[in-house]
């Protein structure tokens, strides 16, 4: 049976993915001017995000029956296509590692302080391999189920913190920062999102392919709205500078919630929400990583690849979180990170489009022969 993903489900996948990028370490508060004008920067970055989605969208619409690996092989030929496929598979694994690493750090610092990481890694890996091996349709339904709950509870936390909120922190608006620094920050901020790859890897399973543009626009705007809300709530209750000193700013914000003497010390509840977000997020990367390898090796069954990728991930995560911790990962804003994201999100697709036009005639011939 072919997997079918509806428009709404895909929007939830992308929205949760984007929220998950921000909710952990909120790296955007360090970007650009790094002051109270970050929210303007985020609004700007919406346009950049939409712009950066175009190359992949173009390719997906052209080759609507294949994923990234599929059309890379068609455009660049078998050999280079396979190499790119492996590269993409590793790239997805890398993202999954980064986010699981942060998740483990966060659990170890606040939630279960003395729980040994091998158990956290084992349990998390079992959960995500289980979900991913059920197929993309099931993973997406899980995300669709949790999506409204997660978004609702984030808004709930923001509402609960009302008595810590002091909106004058945001003043003066657009005085301390220049347009140049804002737009540089917006560029940075739009590079840290890797949701275009999820959409284009799973493009063949979309039940309504004409909705692709709608999916991108709605998911971007909706997630950006929630991100800006979280950002403002964090900044105005912690203060701009204190938020930047915090490792997990939104967690610190939730720790400050103290309303009606029931909703106090609720960060464990927040961590539940947050584990759901990160798990669903990692599941999608685990799945597309397995899918990339599956397509590279031309196999039918995806499960062995998911198990393999999952186990390798588990070992690597255990290694970097307990044997050889790299706390620098927490920031995820080293220059090399941007290179990776730029190459895989924008560079290669643009290259592919150029090649596609250069080899335009071949394609027409192929299409004629193929049909």
């Amino acid at each position: 049976m072919k997997e079918q993903v509806s428009t709404r489900q895909m929007i939830y996948v992308l929205v949760l993915n984007r929220i998950g990028t921000i909710i952990t370490i909120m790296s955007i508060i360090h970007m650009g001017p790094g002051n109270q004008d970050i929210w303007i920067m985020m609004i700007l970055s919406t346009f950049y995000c939409l712009l950066f989605n175009l190359p992949f969208l173009f390719l997906s619409m052209r080759f609507s029956k294949s994923s990234i690996i599929g059309y890379m092989e068609k455009i660049f030929g078998k050999f280079i296509g396979k190499i790119l496929g492996v590269a993409y598979g590793l790239f997805f694994m890398r993202i999954a590692i980064l986010y699981y690493y942060i998740e483990i750090q966060m659990i170890r610092t606040t939630f279960m302080e003395e729980l040994s990481p091998i158990i956290i890694v084992t349990v998390l890996m079992i959960v995500s391999i289980y979900i991913a091996s059920r197929g993309f349709e099931v993973s997406v339904r899980t995300i669709e189920f949790f999506g409204p709950i997660v978004i609702g509870s984030i808004i709930f936390y923001i509402v609960l913190g009302f008595n810590n909120i002091d909106l004058t922190v945001l003043l003066p608006i657009y005085q301390d920062s220049s347009l140049a620094s804002l737009s540089m920050g917006a560029l940075e901020a739009s590079l840290i999102f890797t949701d275009p790859v999820i959409l284009s890897m799973n493009f063949p399973s979309l039940s309504n392919k004409k909705d692709a543009g709608k999916i991108i626009v709605i998911s971007k705007i909706f997630s950006q709205l929630i991100i800006i809300l979280m950002l403002i709530a964090t900044q105005v209750s912690l203060g701009v500078e204190q938020a930047r000193h915090s490792n997990f700013p939104f967690l610190t914000y939730v720790r400050l919630v103290r309303t009606y003497s029931i909703f106090e010390r609720i960060e464990a509840v927040f961590l539940i929400t947050w584990i759901i977000i990160v798990t669903t997020r990692v599941v999608s990367y685990l799945y597309i990583s397995g899918k990339a390898f599956k397509e590279v090796f031309n196999k039918k069954d995806i499960k062995p690849f998911i198990y393999a990728v999952g186990i390798i991930l588990g070992i690597i995560i255990y290694y970097i979180s307990d044997v050889n911790p790299r706390l620098a990962y927490l920031y995820g804003r080293k220059t090399q990170e941007y290179y990776y994201y730029f190459i895989f999100n924008i560079g290669i697709p643009i290259l592919a489009i150029i090649t596609y036009y250069i080899r335009g005639r071949d394609f027409k011939k192929q299409e004629r022969l193929g049909n």
């Binding site: 606040t110 003395e114 084992t122 003043l171 500078e241 720790r255 400050l256 039918k300």
Partner: protein, 424 residues
């Protein structure tokens, strides 16, 4: 359905997964790997006191003894009332060190999450706190929303353990008293996170709450022959910090002014002398100077405006008050509009005086901006601020200001004319 795995294989896989689950569960159930802590093993801390004596940090904790303080225990046996709270003390080089040293002789694991109060000893506050306070925001157990207060003229260890109120733990007692801030305006409740928020603002010096040990004479204790004194904790006032060092105090009235300036005044009572009598005009205003009237502030709104004239910064504080009449100890005809206007004006003058006194003290005595006025300058004149930001503490004592207060009486209570005035 071709890719279905044969049943036997599936079963095997299920068994392997179950085995992994169960083994990890058992593994993690072993003590040590998960850090299980049963409730009865916890020493629930309700207040933390920190002192700095002879280059050593002294931490005093208030720990609840659950057996003695539970309701059921009180109901079942009132006689065998054990010690409800114990006050273990630890010494060490840092705060974490001192707390872990407590566990060397104290049997319950110290659990800081339920503490609402952090008391800093005066010496500790004067020494500077920032280098030792990191534990409270880095560790996940102590809460950032814990109220932080300075023990005025005392050590924290003197404060913690004072039984006042209804025999509740000092932590809860102090926490509730500080929360009354919104109904008197004479104190301030600042949490650790808020303190740091002000600390990170370069232009702003934090003002945090204080606690003071006071002895009161119990006048109604007739059964005892000797006059008894009781110790209470008084939270009126505020401790003024310069960056992280204590430089002085505001008293209760000055704190009222302070709260008006920063716009944090929620509710409170303003007591002032009634307007001087003025019989001539209508003969309705009867009364003598020197008797007090109190107004209950229902809402207060502060607006601060910065104007720059020839490079000189001028601050205008505009306070709008809504008040209810609480008591008049004088025969004043409150129905008369003119009388009301006079009362309002007298109240405004009093508030003006409160504000000016506090601002004066800030400018002359502390010579630093404790009132976030720098932030206002930043917000209203961002370009000017860029030039003067680094030099702000030198500029602040020189700025000029004027205060405008406008009071509106919105309710006069159950009575119209006071009892000492007969209705015509």
């Amino acid at each position: 359905m071709n890719n279905r795995i044969p049943k036997a294989k599936r079963n095997k896989r299920v068994i392997i997964i179950l085995y992994l689950l169960i083994s990890s569960t058992i593994l993690s159930a072993c003590e040590g790997t998960v850090g299980r802590r049963e409730i009865e093993d916890l020493g629930i801390v309700t207040a933390i006191g920190v002192d700095y004596v002879n280059d050593e940090v002294i931490v005093t904790l208030e720990v609840v003894n659950p057996l003695a303080s539970s309701i059921s225990a009180q109901a079942s046996s009132t006689k065998t009332e054990g010690q409800k709270y114990v006050y273990p003390q630890g010494r060490g080089k840092t705060i974490k060190d001192a707390i872990s040293n407590i566990n060397l002789y104290f049997d319950k694991k110290i659990f800081l999450s339920h503490s609402n109060i952090l008391v800093l000893g005066e010496e500790f506050a004067k020494r500077g706190t920032i280098d030792l306070m990191d534990f409270f925001i880095r560790d996940s157990q102590p809460r950032e929303d814990m109220y932080i207060v300075v023990a005025k003229g005392a050590r924290a260890s003197d404060i913690i353990g004072v039984k006042a109120g209804l025999g509740r733990p000092t932590g809860t007692y102090l926490y509730d008293t500080l929360n009354n801030f919104s109904s008197n305006g004479k104190s301030i409740n600042i949490s650790i996170a808020e303190k740091y928020r002000y600390y990170y603002d370069v232009s702003n010096e934090p003002v945090i709450g204080l606690v003071q040990l006071k002895e009161v004479v119990r006048s109604d204790d007739e059964l005892k022959k000797e006059e008894q004194t009781a110790k209470v904790l008084d939270v009126a006032g505020g401790a003024v910090l310069s960056r992280d060092r204590l430089v002085g105090y505001f008293d209760g009235d000055e704190m009222m002014g302070f709260n008006f300036i920063v716009g944090d005044f929620k509710r409170g009572t303003i007591v002032f002398r009634t307007p001087v009598e003025d019989k001539d005009k209508k003969g309705t205003i009867i009364g003598a100077d020197g008797v007090f009237t109190s107004l209950d502030i229902v809402s207060a709104k502060t607006k601060r405006e910065i104007t720059v004239n020839d490079g000189k910064i001028h601050l205008t504080i505009d306070v709008k008050l809504k008040a209810g009449l609480n008591e008049i100890n004088q025969a004043l005809d409150v129905i008369d509009e003119e009388v009301m206007t006079r009362i309002e004006k007298a109240c405004s003058d009093k508030v003006k005086e409160l504000i000016s006194t506090t601002l004066e003290k800030g400018q002359k005595e502390f010579k630093q901006d404790s009132f976030s006025i720098g932030v206002t300058v930043h917000q209203q004149h961002p370009k000017l601020w860029k030039e003067i930001a680094t030099d702000w503490n030198n500029i602040f004592p020189e700025i000029t200001y004027d205060v405008k207060v406008e009071t509106t009486i919105v309710k006069i209570g159950l009575m119209n004319l006071p009892a000492n005035l007969r209705r015509k």
